[in-house]
């Protein structure tokens, strides 16, 4: 009985499939375009994963823009930051006929195919924070933090100033295959060739996989392996927070109980809320980040403009940004959201994200 009914059910699915094959073309062309009917645009933001504090202000930026520009806004993130966890979500958004997808890509290339589908349906794809490195053609525009070529030097300069431009230091990164991290580290390497930094020696680059446990162990190992270590640079917030906790525990931060020859200076990239405690108690002197919120609203402005005004986004195009600004796409189709902000004791309490 059940066997029969289940075979019937499967058969029905197959049958419907065969019938619908013929109507494929019509369904594509009838994809409603909200712009024509004058309805509100549908914008969806897909962060790398839910619960990631960095994407909160970014989402807030988009939400703020939604009030200014009057579009429907939703956030839908995957539970984990795996390479393909965003893929089914993008498929769902295509089916939901959204107009703009703002995506913080988990993978520079695993989403290529599905993003092409989205673009084919007339959806504007804006990447934020993490671009599709070397696969830029699969999205319309990228809104990136700050010029990658500026982040590397700025970080080195920040650490250099703290450690007096001399001594050994190490980098604690996220994963070996994170494009942003690798781009920044590459720029750091070039920066180090500047004679100004000639006395700074990068002893090792290690990877904490953005896991607290692994990052802590790597940080502890760095301190064991390099007794003369004077600085650690962690351009990822999980790594930086874990490293700060390890440093606090060890008391080897500048001014700490066990600090030898000036202690270990720690800096990197993070949202301010995650590190307020360590700035207050002196474990970290200063660290940097751009404004994710500005990035969010800029992405929203670009995406909606491209959709409603039918602007073709290509290098050199000028678009209206938030608050009457004008931004111009560079040769990779990327817009930078703004400069790095350096957070320290003096200003950190003014920020809340």
């Amino acid at each position: 009985m059940i066997r029969i009914s289940s075979i019937l059910a499967l058969g029905a699915l197959l049958l419907v499939g065969c019938n619908s094959g013929a109507s494929n073309e019509t369904s594509t062309s009838t994809t409603p375009s909200s712009t024509e009917s004058g309805a509100k645009l549908k914008v969806v933001f897909i962060p790398k994963n839910t619960g990631n504090p960095y994407f909160k202000p970014l989402g807030a930026g988009i939400e703020e823009a939604s009030k200014e520009l009057g579009f429907d806004y939703q956030e839908q993130g995957p539970a984990t930051g795996d390479a393909t966890s965003q893929l089914p979500i993008i498929k769902d958004q295509i089916q939901r006929k959204v107009d703009v997808i703002i995506l913080a890509a988990n993978s520079p290339d695993a989403l290529n195919e599905v993003l092409d589908d989205a673009k084919a349906k007339g959806i504007v794809v804006v990447t934020v924070d993490s671009d599709l490195e070397k696969n830029e053609s699969h999205r319309d525009v990228g809104v990136m933090a700050t010029d990658t070529s500026k982040i590397g030097p700025a970080q080195i300069e920040l650490l250099g100033r703290e450690m007096n431009y001399e001594g050994e230091f190490a980098i604690l990164s996220a994963t070996t295959d994170s494009p942003n991290q690798n781009a920044w580290i590459a720029h750091m390497m070039t920066t180090l060739k500047d004679p100004k930094y000639s006395k700074m020696k990068l002893v090792e680059t290690v990877y904490g996989n953005d896991e607290p446990q692994k990052s802590s162990t790597e940080m502890e190992a760095l301190m064991t392996k390099h007794p003369n270590l004077k600085g650690v640079l962690s351009p990822t917030s999980v790594g930086l927070a874990a490293a700060a906790q390890v440093l606090e525990n060890s008391g080897m931060y500048p001014g700490g109980k066990k600090a030898a020859n000036g202690g270990i200076h720690l800096t990197g990239l993070s949202t301010p809320n995650q590190l307020k405690k360590f700035v207050a108690n002196g474990v970290i002197t200063a660290f940097q980040l751009w404004s994710p919120k500005d990035m969010g609203s800029l992405a929203a402005y670009l995406g909606t403009a491209a959709k409603s005004k039918k602007i073709e986004l290509k290098s050199g195009t000028e678009v209206d940004g938030p608050k009457g600004t004008k931004v111009k796409l560079n040769d990779k189709g990327v817009v930078f959201a703004g400069d790095l902000v350096t957070f320290d004791k003096a200003n950190i309490d003014k920020f809340d994200f």
Binding site: N49, T50, G51, N52, P53, K56, A79, T80, G81, T176, E204, V206, Y207, D210, E211, P212, Q213, S216, T217, E218, E220, A221, M223, T224, K225, V238, A241, A242, A244, Q245, E248, N249, S250, G251, N273, Q274, L275, K276, K277, F278, N281
Partner: protein, 319 residues
């Protein structure tokens, strides 16, 4: 007969440490030893909880999610009332774990759902709950009081080696579990149940009670491990806190010589299993193994440890 397996494990541990320190003398540097000692407490506490479950022929795969949910809940609690005394935080973590473990126990003992299935189900369900409870927000370091995080850096100093209070708590719990497993009637009932469940029932041991309490114990110790997580890392993210931890815990218990089919094993073995895994994990970093090769080496080491154990067990059986 008893204890031989533990001695074998101890030998493996010593050989591993010797090999590592031969390859990299700093492996024996006090700082590195501290790093290993900091790896242990969470693992040890969760493994001591997993132990009775496996002895009773079950398995608790939801451990990682319980650690996460407990860490987040305790974080929310301490955020709401920062003056709460530290022991209360451990009790709170234990309570959260107890409730979750109890739920597992009810599903398994009364719902008759196989343990693997039930806890795979709650692994995802509890992780989902963690997001719901935290509204997706991370517990930032600012919220965690110094009095809690200092448990990871202060403790009993022996030269430059520090037995952190966290590890101390872990030791105390393990020693309590050691005595309980030998001297408590109820704990002996767990062994009897694991050795022969039908016979245990006929001897008046209630299988439902045994299973329920095993999962409650596993849950509450995972909950305590959740508070330890906060103390050790100073923050907790609903997505990453405890993620994948269950497999490390189960591996530690299995390497510790606890029969995966139930009925036999010892807390001493579990302790050595935890020590071995902690050493391996720290060794991967300190020996400077290329980041891309670490997972491979880790997998190979576990496999080799299992094979060595199985071969030595068979030798003993034929001898």
């Amino acid at each position: 007969m008893k204890g031989k397996r533990e001695i074998g494990l101890l030998v493996v541990l010593v050989v591993l440490i010797a090999a590592c320190s031969f390859a990299k003398p700093i492996f024996l540097d006090p700082r590195n030893i501290n790093s290993i000692l900091l790896w242990m407490p969470l693992l040890l506490v969760a493994a001591v909880g997993q132990f009775p479950v496996i002895v009773a022929r079950g398995i608790d795969i939801s451990t990682g999610s319980i650690v996460g949910l407990s860490a987040i809940s305790v974080g929310l609690l301490v955020k709401a009332s920062p003056t709460i005394p530290v022991p209360m935080l451990f009790i709170a973590g234990g309570m959260v774990g107890l409730i979750l473990g109890c739920l597992n126990g009810l599903i398994i003992a009364f719902g008759k759902v196989p343990a693997v299935v039930a806890t795979i189900g709650t692994l995802t369900a509890f992780r989902g709950l963690t997001f719901v409870v935290s509204k997706g927000d991370q517990i930032d370091s600012t919220a965690i009081p110094q009095s809690l995080t200092s448990l990871a850096n202060q403790g009993i100093n022996i030269g430059n080696v520090t037995i952190s209070w966290l590890l101390f708590i872990g030791f105390v719990l393990a020693i309590l579990a050691f005595f309980a497993s030998n001297r408590l009637q109820f704990y002996r009932n767990i062994f009897a149940f694991g050795s022969n469940p039908d016979a245990a029932f006929l001897r008046g041991i209630s299988p439902k009670t045994v299973e329920l309490i095993c999962y409650c114990a596993s849950g509450s110790l995972a909950g305590v491990a959740g508070t330890m997580y906060l103390a050790r890392f100073g923050f907790a993210n609903p997505g990453s806190a405890g993620q994948g931890f269950e497999l490390i815990v189960i591996a530690a218990v299995a390497i510790g010589g606890v029969k995966i089919t139930g009925g036999s094993g010892s807390i001493v073995g579990v302790f050595l299993g935890c020590a071995l895994l902690s050493c391996i994990n720290v060794a991967l970093t300190v020996l400077g193994i290329d980041a891309d090769w670490q997972l491979l080496v880790y997998g190979a080491t576990i496999l080799i440890a299992l094979i060595i154990d199985s071969v030595s067990q068979r030798r003993k059986a034929t001898a």
